[in-house]
Subunit: 231 residues, 2 copies
Amino acid sequence: MQIPAPEMHDAPANTTPKAAVSLHDGLVTALRDYIVEGNLADGARIPERLLCDRFGISRTPLREALKVLAAEGLIDLLPNRGARVRELSAEDLRELFDVMGGLEALAGRLACERISDAEVAEIEQTHHEMYRFYLRREMHGYFQCNQAIHRMIVEAAGNATLSATYASFAGRIRRVRYSANLAKERDRWGEAMREHEAILDALRRRAGSELSDILFQHLRNKRKAAQAEVA
Amino acid sequence: MQIPAPEMHDAPANTTPKAAVSLHDGLVTALRDYIVEGNLADGARIPERLLCDRFGISRTPLREALKVLAAEGLIDLLPNRGARVRELSAEDLRELFDVMGGLEALAGRLACERISDAEVAEIEQTHHEMYRFYLRREMHGYFQCNQAIHRMIVEAAGNATLSATYASFAGRIRRVRYSANLAKERDRWGEAMREHEAILDALRRRAGSELSDILFQHLRNKRKAAQAEVA
DNA sequence: AGCCGATTTTTTGCATTCATTTTTTGAGAA
DNA sequence: TTCTCAAAAAATGAATGCAAAAAATCGGCT
């Protein structure tokens, strides 16, 4: 008797719109979301049985999913000792932010090579929308626009491999991004806005190398804010 | 990581697999090597049973390994239709080279922040060695040194996450690198040497942003050579 | 003869089972 | 009490078994 379907509660506006083509490819994304959303304690042991019950499947497909997530770096898989949610050390965070910075720098460089005026205009529009949120001190809307702009730049790079890699790393720090909230980010709102102005300016001029530098530095500054938050 | 040779039942001549970090995650690396080395026809269907016999294991661990490799992008996993070695289209190759370029650019930038004089000296030494191979037209030695330099820069970045990501992508294009040989690369030997001079110069001056640009462009040129090869 | 559809065979996906390994529990001694 | 050690319980890693889906084979038809 086959299982009807792993009851995956409809994810709330997940930023990864990857269509789960395969049914148990879907399990991987479901499990990933489950972990990213913080349903599992950090570093705690994850008994397979528990997750099996949770998702209504047997251990075989679950273990396959766990192996994949371990390869992604989201969890640790200790031999004979089960799976644990990977704890992100300060060092891990530093590394992840830098890699994200490198990927965004690349995205900016590539985007300058091929972005259309229409796409630039679209980003500009979102930028202005973000500015309005900034003026009104509306944190949430600002954050949404911010994310959208970065995503648009990555998409404008026209490199599916880059997009996938970027999404993967973004997922890994999303947990931290949410928990260590943006309280500190607030202190550098003005700075961040200026940086975004510079980003847009470089993008308009299709100054790839320059944009690359700006984006990396932008992420560096974000990193500093996030690190200050942790401490 | 040990290679579980095609027969792990009788473990007499098992030359100490050494404290393998994980037991049959070694299977993943073994399978990866098996594929990268081209033992499987491109795009050909891969019956699980065949690989099970080949590696002397049952289907369960094999399928786990396949899922991981599929997540890495090395193979395609069609629902109910088995695994296939992923064929790299020209588009895939373009994307991969650009991502590699972005990662190297990042590595260069980070390396400039923290590399020691001793490490620079080590790279310089390898560079000179490479130059001697270049003068003698010894392709193989040149290539080895080349690879070593790039690897040293990545390591000098001091970012384990970056190193792992870089290694993963390097693995994905290795197959192509081997097949589409460096015949064409020969034509731009002089150019490549000049680029490497510039890389070393920027590294000496710790000019991160500049080195970043040079490395990306360097990979771009490599890409052009590789693409010309395919055609 | 060639093409199409049904039946057989193979293969995949998942559940279940088995053997180790690890963890927990409990009894006894210092 | 607490420490140690052994036995029990549970969890993991891997093999096998079974139902569904694909592929292959064979028989029937135009």
